[in-house]
Amino acid sequence: MSGERVTRLRGKDLLGIDPLSPGEIQLILDTAVEMREIAQRPIKKVPALRGKTVVNLFMEASTRTRFSFEMAEKRLSADSLSFAAASSSVSKGETLLDTALNLEAMQPDFLVIRHPHAGAPHRLAKVLRSSVINAGDGAHEHPTQALLDALTIRLRRGGLAGQVVAIVGDLQHSRVVRSNVLLLSRMGAKVRVAGPPSLIPVGMAALGCEVYTRMEDAIAGADVVMMLRIQLERQGRMNFPTVREYYDFFALTPERLKLARKDCLVMHPGPMNRGVEIDSRVADGPQSVILEQVTNGVAVRMAVLYLLAGGYGEPTAD
């Protein structure tokens, strides 16, 4: 990564990986490394966001991401409140814009939003003064997931440049794959993706990856294999035949994992469908870093909140 060292984020929001420069990604990851140390302390809390208010607006089911954000907010001493709506506000007759303006009227500093429709955080960010953090929008982006994945690889491998990362699964409906391809390719990793041809969106390669249809070709010699959740709830029955057949061709099994590098990392954004896209022997095996991803998720979200609040330098100084 050339250019001078970035010390602040340019925008008020984190809407995706796409708008971030390599320097900004580096900054978030560096800050997250410092944030990780806070969790090692007996008192896992710093006053960095004291007096700041965070609204966690989850319009789509999520446990892990929401808890991770809440944990990050608490560790930074922010005041936060979360609400989950089973579906978009439109079902209550309120538009997204109304929801946004009502929230704005309560003057929060941050809005963390998970939404079933792509672009919803972007529309909100345009009208809100508070910082909007995208916690996953439709099949578009999930930037903090990609950042925590990158942090996990970096901590294990010392860096991202040159790493061969294979991402396998339902590429069509996955926001995780989009954010990951954008981030990893931008940071010099070599990204391969694979999935059933009926679940590979048009123009996937343009995001910055090599596209494979046979999983074996994608994972051959890989440094990292990242499995995607097969999102049964997002599709009908015409995209692939059965879960049983899916397992036959696209599950990460111990046999298939042997095609990758010997010390290849196994990752999964969760929640896992054990026995569908990943065999339990692999998920729980020695190469799995799936729980480290969860740990790093809190650190990355702390870093994002901290940086968007305008922080730089030593986060722990009071």
Binding site: D18, S88, V90, T95, L96, L97, H115, H117, A118, G119, A120, H122, R123, K126, D137, G138, A139, H140, E141, R175, R178, P201, V202, G203, M204, A206, L207
Partner: protein, 430 residues
């Protein structure tokens, strides 16, 4: 006696192969005389020096929303928008509530238009009752009441048997079936053009093939029946190839292109950060298709231009991209968008430009106007090819503001609209 003398204008009338500095005299609602110099002491004089004087522009594809959706647009606000955009006549689609599938609704629309007394309104009747795609509507009754074509626009005529029969039955009246070509099972839940931009944005795509499959079917059925099919808002390279082949084989297949499909790319969805004012059906296409569409306009494969003016309330367009309705308004931006793009940037002759907006649509639907030949209706569009202005939706006459062109600086704006020899709109002087 109502006499109007338009002097010193550049008169462009493709039907008479005319592009010359001339005076035009309108008497009692008809074109009376064209000559290099006309003196008439009783006529009201309009100085058109530096302006183009053309036969009235006709938009064969608009949604006026009345009856049923008067919060989006009414016949009165729709025709006000039309004349402010330089249009002297519009053809309105039947997807109202109730649907225009009967003489009663056709007559109601005509009555509303007569009350507004601005642009002429020619209703398009439904192909099928209630747009259900199941049984033919009473097409003959609607034609008697003033309908000039039939269409289930908003939806395709999905049932091939019904389309076949419609293409046969309409031959009794000499009107075309206008088809919104989209195979719904392929379009699925798509909200924008399927391609690299949709993939990056995580939005479900509508493949070009969804349009092309249906255009191909319609061409086959046009051959089977000898009927007239007009492809609404054509937007893909493959669809244009099918139309080109059909024309070469002498089939009665025509098509229209919209200003937005010519001027904007699918990339606009990304650039606007998911602004639902970039959402319409068919969707904004990728460069490959837009280039093909532009070529097809320049080489004459596209018969005419049309706006697909589709007003939606701001509240509806404030929804998430996936949930916002398809459609954009077009009447008040069509002339500058297409003039700037086609004539200024791509060198389309002015005569061809006027033909695309006036001569061709009049012929297509057998409407009065479309020429300034003496004896024809005194419908005149006067525009200033040099005028520059920024699109400001706040100034629209339309009830709705859902335009993707807001803030664009364009050259070539209407100055005056004359319908039946009466000045129904003129640009305010600044």
């Amino acid at each position: 006696m109502n006499r109007l003398l338009i002097r010193h204008g550049r008169v462009v009338d493709p039907a008479q192969r005319l592009d010359d500095g001339m005076d035009v005299l309108l008497v009692d609602g008809a074109v009376a005389r064209l000559a290099e110099r006309i003196e008439d002491s009783q006529a009201q004089v309009i100085d058109a020096a530096g302006l183009v004087v053309a036969p009235g522009f006709i938009d064969v594809h608009v949604h006026l929303r009345e009856p049923g959706f008067e919060y989006k647009e009414t016949v009165a606000t729709g025709v006000a928008a039309a004349v402010a955009g330089g249009f002297t006549a519009v053809c309105c689609m039947p997807n109202t509530s109730p649907v225009n599938d009967s003489a009663a609704v056709t007559e109601f629309i005509a009555k509303r238009a007569a009350e507004a007394a601005l642009a002429r309104v020619y209703p398009i009747g439904a192909v099928s009752k209630g747009l259900s795609g199941e049984e033919l509507a009473e097409i003959g009754e609607m034609v008697r009441a003033g309908a000039v074509a039939v269409s289930d626009d908003g939806k395709p005529v999905h049932n091939a048997y019904l389309m076949r029969r419609a293409l046969e039955y309409t031959q009794l009246f000499g009107i075309p079936v206008i088809d919104h070509c989209e195979e719904p099972t392929l379009a699925a839940r798509g909200v924008m053009h399927e391609g690299a931009v949709a993939t990056r944005l995580g939005l479900a795509g509508i493949p070009a093939a969804a349009e092309e499959v249906m255009v191909a079917r319609d061409v086959v059925l046009a051959e089977l029946t000898g009927g007239r099919v007009h492809i609404a808002h054509i937007s893909t390279r493959g669809a244009l190839e099918r139309v080109r082949e059909a024309k070469a084989r002498g089939l009665q297949v025509t098509c229209e292109a919209t200003p937005h499909h010519l001027a904007l790319l699918d990339q606009a969805v990304a650039e606007s950060e998911f602004d639902p004012n970039t959402k319409m059906n068919p969707p904004l296409r990728s460069q490959e298709h837009v280039t093909a569409l532009l070529d097809a306009v320049l080489d004459g494969t596209v018969d005419c231009l049309a706006t697909d003016h589709a007003p939606h309330h701001a509240d509806e367009k404030a929804l998430e991209y996936d949930l916002a309705p398809f459609g954009v308004v077009g009447l008040e931006t069509a002339l500058p968008v297409t003039y700037d793009l086609l004539v200024r940037r791509h060198g389309l002759p002015l005569k061809s430009f006027v033909a695309l907006w006036s001569t061709a649509p009049a012929r297509l639907l057998n409407l009065p106007g479309g020429t300034l030949r003496p004896g024809s209706a005194a419908d005149v569009t006067i525009f200033n090819p040099e005028a520059r202005a920024v699109v400001n939706p706040e100034r629209f006459r339309s009830l709705s503001r859902n335009t993707p062109f807001a803030g664009q600086r364009l050259r070539g704006w209407p100055v005056m609209t004359i319908v039946g020899g009466r000045v129904v709109w003129q640009r305010e002087r600044r």
